[in-house]
């Protein structure tokens, strides 16, 4: 027993010392490396800016480490740029063989390498990676699929819309990732999204309705109005929200009818939308919802009524039994002057 304990203690002591020494060496190496990288970044930022401006830059003397640093700097710039500058960044990465390296990494056995490669390909802006990124939407690892979706969005690739939607419908990528990618693709995604508002999966329908609200035009109102009668409460709420976003006034009558929806969060979304697309005629109904409904719809209705007819809200709030939501809305109207 004693010898086991003694050997155990000795082993622990050795482990502790080895860990400490390893950490000290690691820190020493890292600090030097970071210092060197910092200096290289400062030096190469000018080169990166010249590349972005389309100037011809001689990169023949660039060693491997500097090429990595330049790629990092350009990748960082690439995230915030669009258009011709992105094309120049992409062409730099293609010439350097970096795109090829990342495409190879997409086939790595390690999921995190594949995910990093999928992500970096989006920052590089090269269209050479699109087919592989589309294929990566079927990767067994969620992080890889999400990174690929994000990159396809960044590249604004219209042919990626359907695979993205499909991946969303099959719950292979998170809703937020798919949504953001489709938003990044922008208008080219709209035709597919418009078709998708009638998709069989409520999840896909819900997101499509929401995105049409963010990307579409008031003319999309007619299709969205139909979704106010969808079997899914989330889709109905999103449709109301989208109608408000688009300012689709032709949806006002249907929205008015939807104020009686059985689900509170749908009624709240409907009330908010009416605050944008409704007119003075709907105010009495909104005031009634504000007085009588449950918390969220009542608060939304009071806010909507205040937006459409502040005087009516002030008046209604002064009547006994007005309720807390009308009081709040009236006070906010007062505060806004």
């Amino acid at each position: 027993m004693i010898s086991v304990l003694t050997w155990g203690a000795a082993a622990l002591a050795v482990c502790g010392w080895v860990s400490v020494c390893a950490l000290a060496v690691r820190r020493f190496v890292l600090v030097r490396l970071e210092r060197r990288r910092g200096k290289a970044e400062l030096r190469l930022r000018r080169v990166a800016l010249a590349l972005l401006e389309g100037e011809s830059v001689d990169l023949t003397d660039l060693n491997g480490d500097d090429a990595d640093v330049l790629a990092t700097v350009l990748g960082r710039f690439g995230r915030n740029l669009r258009g011709a500058t992105t094309a120049r960044i992409a062409s730099f990465f293609e010439r350097q063989g970096e795109v090829y390296r990342q495409l190879e990494a997409l086939g790595s056995r390690r999921p995190w390498r594949r995910a990093t490669a999928a992500f970096v390909l989006g920052d590089m802006g090269s269209r050479q990676g699109i087919a592989s990124l589309r294929a990566a939407l079927d990767d067994p690892d969620l992080a890889v699929r999400s990174a690929a979706a994000r990159s396809l969005g960044r590249l604004g690739e219209p042919t990626a819309v359907e695979p993205l939607v499909q991946a969303l419908a099959e719950r292979r990528i998170p809703r937020s990732v798919a949504g953001q990618a489709l938003l990044a693709i922008g208008e080219p995604a709209l035709p597919v999204l418009r078709n998708l508002v009638r998709a069989p999966e409520p999840e896909a329908r819900g997101l499509a309705v929401e995105l049409v609200g963010l990307l579409g035009a008031a003319s999309d109102g007619a299709e969205l109005v139909g979704r106010l009668r969808d079997s899914s409460a989330e889709v109905r709420a999103n449709a109301a929200h989208a109608l408000g976003k688009l300012g689709a006034e032709e949806g006002a009558a249907e929205l008015r009818g939807a104020l009686g929806d059985r689900i509170p969060f749908v009624r709240a979304a409907v009330a908010r939308a009416l605050g944008v697309v409704g007119d003075a005629d709907v105010v009495p109904e909104l005031l009634q919802v504000a007085r009588e409904d449950s918390f969220d719809p009542a608060r939304a209705a009071a806010g909507a009524a205040a937006r459409l007819d502040p005087a009516a809200v002030r008046y209604a709030a002064a009547v006994p039994g007005a309720g807390p939501h009308l009081h709040e809305a009236a006070d906010l109207v007062e505060m806004a002057g």
Binding site: G16, L23, S176, A184
Partner: protein, 474 residues
């Protein structure tokens, strides 16, 4: 007879130490894997996209404040400036007797507004509610004193958004901390119901306008030992439990929760001093009893900076309060302990907390004297005594060093080599007295609890909101 008894007790003490520290070592391994994975994931976390996305869920930040006149304005400014697409800040002055509300009124041009509040959770009476002419996303509520939990519940009743973030009034969030802590929710809103971030010690750091501008170590030994302790607790403990899907604690200083769920379980408990651990336990229980698939996650990189006690007196109060909170939470949910219906939560996490966290101080404080007495009465040999002591010491040191190693390979917040060396020294030194005195306080808490003592005193703070201040160096 006595010889045999002491011999057996010595062996029990040894087994306890080995099991406890062995479990810690396993956790260190799990945490190491978790942190490494998290570090890699940061490369493709797409935070920029989450920040720019209209699909990122809005969050209501709840800031309970009791006599926080010194730093409240700075805290609110820094919260309103957080990098998050859509947020509101709800300040709840919990019966403050100083000029907390007055300061806010002046700084943000507050106007009394009869704000509608949900009736979902019962709280102490609300005296007044205010909106700001300057910051539409700021709400201030003045209510009668009811404690921090009551103030948080009042904040939940006032919150507009589907997620609430509870933070301490004296805590400082890093600029993108909210975005980072909310990322698991953004990615999987159906399953992730709550997330918590890491709490780090601000003593010794330079703070300017509510932001930590340079990270440093406190000059005080007690505070520096707490830096090591926090690293161990968060980077090993929380990461490990979170990886196992058994996270029981989301720090009261910084956590995000699905509002509807907090309402469904009745909000933070006002009758315990450990309302943070109690709430998380209640959420687990509620969701498990309904057979729902859910996740409660700890995220290691969103940082909330908070001030720690620098005197033994105040530290002892804090530790006794924490221990009492844990005891109350475990007692309240004792039905779950060892209950297979609650899966690993009932069969592993809660028994672990009961045996090693709650009763740990008793056994650890008794273990060493037992072995010494056993040696004195010739029940065990000198060799056993020395080997036992060395084994316990080296295991404890190795565990602390592992936590520092995790910090070193992942976040490396203490950039200077000198500070890293100091932390290492304290990782060794804390085993000579500091941990033992902590055990004494925790034991005292159990005694106080048994005697029905409920007063814990105040925790005096230096205040963090003022520009260019380094609290522990002043």
């Amino acid at each position: 007879m006595i010889h045999g008894l002491f011999h057996v007790m010595s062996i029990i003490a040894l087994v306890y130490f080995v099991v406890l520290n062995g479990t810690y070592l396993v956790f260190t391994g799990v945490a190491w894997r978790g942190i490494t994975q998290h570090r890699r994931e940061r490369r493709y976390a797409a935070l920029e996209e989450a920040f720019a996305s209209p699909l990122t869920p809005p969050i209501s930040i709840l800031l309970p404040a009791y006599n926080e006149e010194a730093g409240i304005v700075q805290s609110v400014h820094s919260l309103l400036a957080l990098r998050y697409p859509s947020l509101e800040v709800v300040v709840v002055s919990d019966g403050s007797t100083d000029s907390t509300v007055e300061r806010l009124r002046e700084a943000f041009d507050l106007v009394p507004v009869r704000k509608a509040l949900r009736a979902g959770i019962e709280t102490a009476p609300v005296l007044a509610t205010y909106a700001s002419r300057l910051k539409p996303s700021l709400t201030v509520i003045e209510k009668e004193n009811g404690g921090k939990a009551d103030a948080l519940n009042c904040g939940v009743n006032a919150a507009r958004h589907a997620y609430v973030c509870a933070i301490d009034a004296d805590a400082l969030l890093e600029e993108d901390a909210l975005l980072r802590v909310a990322k698991p929710i953004v990615d999987d809103p159906e399953r992730v119901v709550a997330t918590g971030g890491i709490v780090r010690i601000v003593n010794g750091c330079s703070v300017d306008h509510g932001r930590v501008v340079s990270v440093g170590l406190p000059t005080s030994s007690i505070a520096t030992m707490q830096v090591v302790e926090y690293l161990r607790a968060f980077l090993v403990g929380r990461v490990g439990w979170s990886r196992l899907g058994l996270l029981l604690i989301i720090s009261g200083a910084f956590g995000v929760f699905r509002r509807s769920l907090v309402e469904a379980v009745g909000g933070w408990s006002t009758t315990t001093v450990g309302e943070d651990v109690e709430l998380v336990l209640r959420l687990h229980r509620h969701l498990k009893e309904r057979g729902e698939e859910y996740r409660i996650e700890f995220v290691a990189d969103p940082v909330c900076w908070t001030e720690c006690p620098e005197t033994l007196r105040v530290l002892s109060r804090q530790r006794r309060r924490w221990q009492r909170g844990l005891a109350e939470a475990l007692w309240r949910h004792r039905r779950l302990v060892g209950n297979p219906r609650y899966g690993l939560l009932g069969m592993f996490a809660l028994p672990y907390f009961l045996l090693f966290e709650l009763l740990g101080p008793v056994i650890q404080l008794l273990g060493l004297p037992i072995v010494i007495v056993a040696f004195a009465v010739d029940s065990v040999s000198l060799g056993f005594l020395v080997a036992f002591l060395l084994m316990s010491l080296f295991l404890a040191v190795l565990l602390s060093v592992s936590a520092l190693a995790l910090e070193e390979v992942s976040f490396r917040r203490h950039a200077s080599g000198r500070e890293a060396a100091r932390l290492l020294a304290y990782a060794v030194l804390e085993n000579f007295g500091y941990r033992q005195i902590n055990d004494v306080w925790r034991l005292q808490a159990l005694v106080d609890l048994a005697r029905g003592k409920t007063k814990w005193g105040e925790m005096p703070r230096r205040g963090l909101g003022l520009p260019n201040e380094a609290p522990s160096r002043s």
